[in-house]
């Protein structure tokens, strides 16, 4: 049973958090996907995550499927919840 969680973004999903998400996702065995606004991306691909074009107020869904899926969803949820405007 895949794990999933929704996060509402406080700021646009710009390049730096996209990198944080991809690095974190790559550390899990589970397949991890992010979706927002009808688009879907492999969370382990930074360019894919940036291509989601998720902006402030958007809801991003994290889905993970694999042996460490719950931990993967938790880790990515924390990063998404901490997204703040670029400095």
């Amino acid at each position: 049973m895949p794990a999933s969680s929704d996060v509402t973004l406080k700021a646009d999903l710009h390049a730096r958090p996209a990198g944080q998400l991809a690095v974190a996702a790559a550390g899990f065995q589970a397949a991890v996907r992010l979706s927002a606004g009808g688009r879907d991306a492999d969370a382990k691909s930074v360019l894919g995550v940036m291509q989601l074009g998720a902006s402030a107020g958007a809801t991003v869904t994290v889905r993970a499927d694999g042996p460490d899926e719950a931990a993967a969803v938790d880790a990515l949820t924390v990063i998404l919840a901490a997204v703040t405007p670029a400095g």
Binding site: A15, R16, A22, V23, A26, S45, V46, L47, Q51
Partner: protein, 134 residues
């Protein structure tokens, strides 16, 4: 923690190489990235000596991925790789990615920062060719 794959960005422009390294290092925090741009006397062009020094700086034992920008940068890198093959002190495997410069650098940096091996880092850079912006 195991050694990370190093990334060397080779550009005709020192500013372009350093800017791409800065950006890739921000997105892929923790990645080891060395810039090799311009000629030894500060003109536009590429320098085998600069690339060779950058490969040494980036090498931590897990291999190095070189991402060149255009034309003669690729030639410079190919000559260097041929020299490394004959060098018993070569710093582990060194490969060249056929990838868009900025997107490839960012994708490679993130993958390397995650601790992935050289073939995966190269694949991430080369897959960047298919990434759409819009």
């Amino acid at each position: 923690m195991t050694a990370l794959v190093g990334i060397v960005l080779v550009s005709h422009s020192a500013a372009l190489a350093e800017g791409a390294a800065e950006l890739a290092g921000q997105v892929g925090a923790g990645a080891v990235i060395a810039a090799a741009g311009g000629t030894g006397d500060g003109r536009l062009g590429t320098s085998a000596e600069k690339v060779s020094a950058a490969v040494e700086r980036a090498s931590a034992g897990a291999g190095v991925l070189i991402i060149p920008d255009l034309g003669s940068a690729v030639l410079t890198v190919k000559v260097l790789l041929a020299d490394l093959e004959d060098d018993d002190d070569a710093p582990g495997p060194v490969e060249v990615a056929d990838a868009p410069f900025v997107e490839g650098a960012v994708a490679a940096a993130v993958t390397a920062a995650a601790g992935a091996p050289l073939p995966a880092v190269r694949a991430a850079a080369e897959e960047a060719r298919d990434a759409r912006k819009l």
